[in-house]
Amino acid sequence: MPEMTLIEAIRQGMDEELARDDCVFITGEDVGPRGGVFRATQGLFEKYGPKRIIDSPLAELSIVGVGIGAAVYGMRPICEIQFADFIFPAFNQILNEAARMFYRSGGEWAAPMVIRAPYGGGVGGGLYHSQSVEAFFAHIPGLKVVIPSNPKDAKGLLKSAVRDPNPVLFLEPKKGYRLIKGFVPEGEYTVPIGPAHVSREGADLTVFAYGIMHYYCLQAAALVAKEGISAEVVDLRTLLPVDKAAIVASVRKTGKAMIVHEDNLTGGYGGEVAAIIADEAFADLDAPVKRLCGPDVPGVPFSHPMQDWFMPNPEKIAKAMKELAAY
């Protein structure tokens, strides 16, 4: 099992899918000779050529809209959005077109495609290169939303996404691209879209997270373990459809729940998780349901002291865990 970074795993996943199925192609800004601004597609242009690795015009709505057309025709596009911050010109296409194609046509048509986008802060990117956008998409029935937290899942989930007959938004925690390393199985495997994953068993409380925040939560859990707190960590992985059963089961067990995301608190995905818990695990709850999230300001500020204030990190998470455990 070779160790690799998150972005290497993503690249390998795309490479294998391109090799497996010649309906698969990639389009997006700078995905060609440049290999993507984060190098996710590095080497693929050389290997698969300009017909399958297509530098798009600088226009996200049509990157997705053209992808939809190709998908209904029978291709399997992977559309790269350079930064999640720039996905919004395509919001109409994703929401009103891709996600609704299947239902609105009575099941006659579908738009099987993957939209990949690096998201998240802590990279000195300021308001417009740091956004977490998952909550906007986790409210769109017909769309699937996936966020991997480690290389193994990233590759396996991406391969599932390419093969999925539905549109899948695949959000990649860009701060983790090179930071997060892990072992990836050799040979063909996939990780199913849907199930959450209990990545650390615990007894005192459950913390739900995804992406790089999940990575931090594991670190925080290790920190509080030294103080005798047994935290269960659940990697949600698929945000839509949401794995209600896994959420409820863990809270039934621990009685205390906390959700961590770097996206703004209000209206964020944590609200949905908390609401599920407050309804379906109410009888087992021993404490208020807590959310540790990015503050409600319109973006991650650039200057690093302000950025540090914005971003959750293992220390902040550990502190919140301790408070919850003490309730």
Partner: protein
């Protein structure tokens, strides 16, 4: 390019059939039997002229809501259209989930369409891209109103088609109004087709009330598209003799005189006159056509009225396509 008598009469019949079906829809609405109708009246020449230059079954269509005549040429049956007006079970485009005239017909390569205008243009480009990738010598045609060309979606979709020289034809049906808004409030130029230069593709203005003129312009475009010559922008100048939809009242934004003037140039009237002048349409034949059409329309109405509403369960989903859907 001389058209046979049979073809000319088939064109005429196609126009008449669309018109009578359309008229019946207005009647049904006045009778309170249906809740909504949006009409293709006045646009029949533009659409039938286009349809006859295509190969249904091979070519692809991404229509807009006025494309009733085009849809009928592509194989939509009057019964199917009536089911959509009544929102009845097994409606072909959406299972009665969508409003009438949100066309789509999988068996005929007609992609499901939505209401947000211009979203279909990038889809058409994506289909064209798929055709090019697969070496399919089919053509994709998309319809749109002149007002909707103000959308960035239209611009981006055509730009893709031009950059990749896609086998795509965009037919702008310029009926001078977008609901109440006259075209001089949409654009500071007289012809939408002049915008073709902005993309680097040929543009053509044609009298949209002259079915043969439209046919000729379309044949050029289809030949170009099928032989690798790339996309064409066609603007068919026409008029909508009725309100925008059954919800509209056009008296606030245009004079009765203007409407009356245009009705003299009704495309069916014009084509009938032409055929008569060439001795191709003796009164008896026309009566025969009218009788046939009436029978079709009556039958369709009866069929739809008798059809059941969808079972409530058919609203539940599926929301997601199953793995095997597009295998």
């Amino acid at each position: 390019m001389e058209l046979s008598k049979e073809t000319l009469l088939a064109m005429y019949y196609a126009m008449l059939r669309s018109r009578r079906l359309d008229e019946r829809a207005w009647v049904l609405h006045r009778q309170g039997k249906i809740v909504f109708h949006i009409s293709g009246m006045g646009h029949e020449a533009a659409q039938v002229g286009a349809a006859f230059a295509l190969k249904p079954g091979k070519d692809w269509l991404v229509p807009y809501y006025r494309d009733l005549a085009l849809m009928l040429c592509f194989g939509l049956t009057p019964r199917e259209f009536m089911l959509s007006l009544f929102g009845k079970q097994s409606e072909a485009s959406s299972g009665a989930r969508q409003m009438p005239s949100h066309f789509g017909l999988r068996r005929a390569n007609v992609v499901s369409t939505s209401a947000p205008v211009a979203t279909q243009i990038p889809h058409a480009a994506g289909i064209g891209l798929g055709m090019k990738m697969r070496g399919d010598d089919a053509v994709v045609v998309t319809g749109i109103g002149e007002g909707s060309t103000s959308q960035g979606e239209w611009y981006e979709g055509l730009n893709w088609a031009a950059v990749h020289k896609l086998p795509m034809i965009c037919i702008v049906q310029n009926n001078q109004y977008a609901i109440s808004v006259p075209s001089h409030k949409q654009m500071a130029i007289p012809n939408v087709a002049d915008r073709a230069a902005a993309f680097g593709m040929p543009g053509a203005v044609v009298d949209g009330n002259d079915v043969l003129a439209v046919y000729r312009v379309m044949m050029d475009a289809v030949t170009r598209a099928r032989t690798g010559g790339g996309p064409t922008l066609i603007e068919a100048k026409t008029y909508r003799p009725v309100p925008h939809s059954s919800d509209d009242d056009d008296r606030s934004y245009r004079t009765r005189e203007e409407v009356a003037e245009w009705k003299k140039r009704d495309p069916i009237l014009l084509f009938k006159g032409y055929l008569e002048s060439k001795g191709r349409l003796p009164p008896a034949l026309n009566d025969d056509y009218e009788t046939r059409v009436l029978a079709e329309v009556d039958d369709a109405q009866k069929f739809a009225e008798a059809a059941p509403y969808p079972a409530i369960e058919s609203a539940f989903g599926p929301v997601y396509a199953a793995e095997a859907h597009h295998a």
